[in-house]
Subunit: 592 residues, 2 copies
């Protein structure tokens, strides 16, 4: 079913949609493609004739569900591409101020307002007819707001229906100032029967399948779940335990049943193929790679100190090091016909996750073809993490592990691989995870002007001592510890550490293993794993405070920049300035 | 002939030899291997029985010479390896001060000193017998100085003979303070007949074969020749004309006759092979690569402003971009038997130049095997530069072009390729061209602790306007131009330019060609050529001075460091901090 509503085309051309949610979660689309599905369409709660939703079938990921939830949320014709979307708060800042000054709140007296049925709401499903939505038993005419919606024309998906299923997906909407904006547009309330109907029609919480998480995790966003371990434990072991390995989910965790799981592969001469988990495991040799994954937004909090950016406020622990086992992507592609003919045309390997938003859009990303097929690229279709099957949060049953590449391309819950002449069209490849100049703001940004982040730059951070800790002056020295890593397989050669803010430097001892006899140095260009480092530095005479700083150097002799301001960018990615920690020196404290 | 002198072994173990010549030229060796030569040995001028020198034959590079010079300097049993060597001035600083305070100079009255024959001098050719040398008709007992010689035990090569042939090779010795050191050890003068004999035995200037150079070049060192073009012309064209492409020679330019040239290849299953220039050209497809070469010491002058380093004081123009044509190294190695068996053991490909020092030691370097044999490595055995045969200064007739790799590994006048499990043992691979922490000095440096530089980090510099230039305030804006490049095939994504010292940034326009229709973007990891950039920036209100700054970002999102101090290193390599140029703004000047 193609969405025929003319306002979609209009909006797409009128509003350049950029931005993101403050929780760092984005969904986006620009064109609608009909999922060729054999399952019957099931229309739900949205009364707008041009907005009839369908449940789509045919994917293993949807078959786990025996309680009927699959009929609901993860529905709608496959919205596969993405170019726009989400929040640019300044757009509605004026509206917000007016809303605040007018005192309008959800608690506003509503008894004087008209009562509508859900069918009446459903008639207002376009800019022509007016755009009405229902939320918690109240009715809003948001026609004027559509053009201001930071999420772009996506808001029209809810036109004539209920906001809950959308807002359930992104916790960002569950904030007072968002509710304040909405309340400005309130025009009435639902009649009791409609409210009941509406409530019962609500899809269940799309996050119903989230796994249990380790209580030590520091949560940056609950829905989608994003969390990092406490810094104090991050470098306790060379291999990061899976339970506390940072979680970076863009969407609800899909619950996938391994028996019905199928991995689809497209773009090779033999046409589309699909293989089961057991075929993946039995048909291809199992390779194990120790590789560090890092979120592009790791250390975003440092950038926020310069000027507020959009995104999850990660500390220094959105990075971890694990052993990953699985089939080599190269082996799989060769097996299914990859060869010079394909190489002559293709440039990218796209990945689609089984995690989808309410519109049916998968998480997606791509990596360059040469990385994917190189013998030395070590890209895995991993089904094990640290010797055990992948945890749900890390992509069970199969994920991409593209060592040296930004976490965002290491697609979890992998459902489809497409060998293509084009990059992934996903929002995350096209309009997110890119770097810009400090001078570029949300008014001037052109996402097409920058390539998608693939390899990450040199990085290091101090995990001990912690900011504000006191060190004992009687000890005569301070032990400093941390991690260092670089993208693209570039080995960390050296970590320089200073306790005087960078005036004098000491060279830390590097560690590449938990073993007493560390492994041989990696081959050039295949240093996928971090190095932990440690150094005892004499306390400067009479120092009362230490400004501890670290900076690393990789095998291309790239170095970290001194400060965050010159690398500041509106999305707060690639935050790799010298890491700084201030501690006090005192006679009383012995917590170093 | 193996050097049997026991002092060599002793000295090698006693003195860790580091450092370099102030002209940035180093020679070194640690073990002596006999060249398996069929030509008769010809002993020359050195009377020490354990130091008999041989001329070696079999190399095309030696056959050009019809005037007998080949019998002389470039002789001695092949000193192939290198771990030590050269100047650490502080070692003899005490001696120097004493020499100065005692007023001893070469002009010292000598009539009262004994007269020696060259034969008597020749008897003092070891630490046991005393180490005497002759220089300009005078005799010196330098036994005590041997241990202090910054060049290590190499000084013993001259024991019992004349210094001239050694000093002729490196202009560094032709300095007053070196002569002052020497004069402290004067013990007598040569008799007239010996002096004549000694003079006639002197080898000719090893730099006799130097080519004519372009007068525009700014010379950093005459012997060996090191020069860069004026900044004002560096980015006038995307392709740097060969004549003004920076010259970085470590040794005299060898004059090679193409008809007799042979390239030797070792370390492959079929045993050593040698091929002629015409075989190289006819047997392998000709490939052309546009690649930027940069000296590791480019922009060393910026580092010198922080604290003096050892090395040629390069400006920002020890970089250039050319088209290189030749056989792919990969093709040649595969042709001569490279395969999985070799790959299982070998790790490096070593290169030896035909440029040799007076001891017969070749310039040498190596690159990782995976770079050498990768289809995407694009390593050439180049015989053309910018569409013409290689100029003498750039390695005629054949040189290595290893794109993305520091200039020092792009060995010129290529004589031998060795596929090996070890890196080149040359001084330049082992004890030079490495990066260290700012905290590392010549007392603490351990060259084994750092890997040889291969890929270079992100770099950019401003070529217009020049430091101190005035820009016209009436113009309203200033045009800024420059170059940007990164090692390892990482593409330059962006150049940020500031006219207020880095407070605000503008994004420059990049240029990848001289053509109106620029080439397609390079494949990932194969961006070998620089980008030129340009931008017009509005003049800030009432600005009287501009602090113009540029910084580039590469495809791994690595950035240049803000300042030189934190990347300062004792050799002054890898100088890639933001480039800064101050200009005045005035109404009178219109030279922008």
């Amino acid at each position: 079913m193609i969405n025929a509503c003319p306002v979609f085309a209009l909006l797409r051309s009128r509003y350049r949609t950029v931005a993101e949610s403050s929780a760092g979660s984005q969904i986006a689309y620009s064109s609608y493609n009909l999922l060729k599905s054999n399952v019957p369409s099931v229309s739900v709660w949205n009364g707008c004739p041009s907005h009839r939703w369908q449940s789509s079938g045919g994917h293993g990921w949807q078959k786990y569900n025996n309680d009927g939830v699959s009929k609901l949320t993860f529905a709608l014709a496959g919205l596969m591409a993405g170019t726009g979307a989400v929040l640019a708060y300044k757009l509605h800042h004026g509206k917000l101020e007016r809303a605040a000054s007018s005192g309008q709140l959800l608690e506003t007296e509503t008894s004087s307002l008209p009562i509508y049925t859900i069918e009446e709401v459903a008639k207002h499903c376009s800019l022509d007819s007016g755009v009405w939505v229902a939320y918690k038993g109240e009715v809003f005419d948001i026609t004027e707001f559509v053009a201001l919606h930071p999420g772009g024309d996506k808001i029209l998906l809810a036109a004539g229906g209920s906001l809950e299923p959308y807002w359930g997906l992104y916790a960002v909407h569950q904030q007072d100032h968002i509710l304040q904006i909405l309340t400005e547009y309130k025009i009435g309330v639902l009649d009791k029967e409609s409210y009941k109907k509406q409530e019962s029609a609500h899809p269940s919480d799309p996050y119903f399948a989230e796994p249990t998480r380790h209580p030590a995790l520091q949560i940056n966003s609950q829905k989608p779940f994003n969390a990092e371990p406490p810094v104090s434990i991050l470098t306790d072991s060379y291999i990061t335990p899976s339970a506390v390995f940072f979680k970076r989910n863009h969407l609800p965790v899909p619950r996938v049943v391994s028996e019905t799981y199928k991995l689809e592969i497209e773009g090779l001469p033999g046409g589309a193929v699909s293989l089961t988990l057991s075929e993946l495991k039995s048909r291809f040799p199992k390779h194990t790679v120790t590789a560090t994954l890092q979120c592009a937004g790791n250390r975003r909090s440092d950038m926020n100190k310069v000027k507020q950016v959009k995104g999850l406020n990660w500390g220094i622990a959105a990075i971890g090091n694990a052993t990953w086992s699985g089939a080599r992507l190269r082996d799989v592609l060769l097996y299914y016909g990859f060869g010079p003919d394909v190489a002559a045309k293709a440039r990218h390997v796209q990945f689609e996750g089984l995690d989808r938003d309410v519109t049916g859009t998968s998480y997606g990303a791509s990596i360059p073809l040469n990385k994917a097929v190189s013998e030395e690229g070590d890209v895995l279709l991993a089904y094990e993490m640290n010797g055990e099957e992948l945890p749900a949060d890390h992509g069970y049953p199969v994920r991409v592990v593209a060592p040296g590449i930004v976490g965002a391309r290491n697609v979890k819950w992998l459902g489809r691989i497409v060998v293509s002449d084009e990059e992934s069209k996903s929002h995350w490849q096209q309009n997110d995870y890119k770097g810009f100049s400090p001078g570029t703001d949300w008014d001037t940004v052109d996402f097409k002007s920058a390539p998608a982040i693939q390899e990450l730059p040199i990085q290091s951070a101090i995990t001990h001592p912690a900011e504000g800790m006191s060190v004992d002056s009687n000890a005569g020295e301070v032990t400093v510890k941390g991690y260092a890593w670089s993208g693209g397989g570039r080995e960390v050669l050296r970590v320089d550490v200073s306790v005087d803010g960078g005036n004098t430097w000491h060279v830390a001892k590097l560690r590449t293993s938990d073993e007493h006899n560390p492994a041989l140095p990696p081959s050039p260009g295949r240093a996928w794993a971090w190095k932990l480092w440690e150094i005892d530095i004499p306390l400067p005479d009479k120092a009362q405070e230490l400004q501890i700083v670290c900076k690393a150097v990789d095998s291309s002799y790239n170095v970290q920049p001194e400060s965050s301001a010159p690398i500041w960018n509106l999305r707060g990615v690639l935050s790799n300035a010298w890491h700084r920690v201030k501690v006090k020196v005192s006679e009383d404290h012995k917590d170093n």
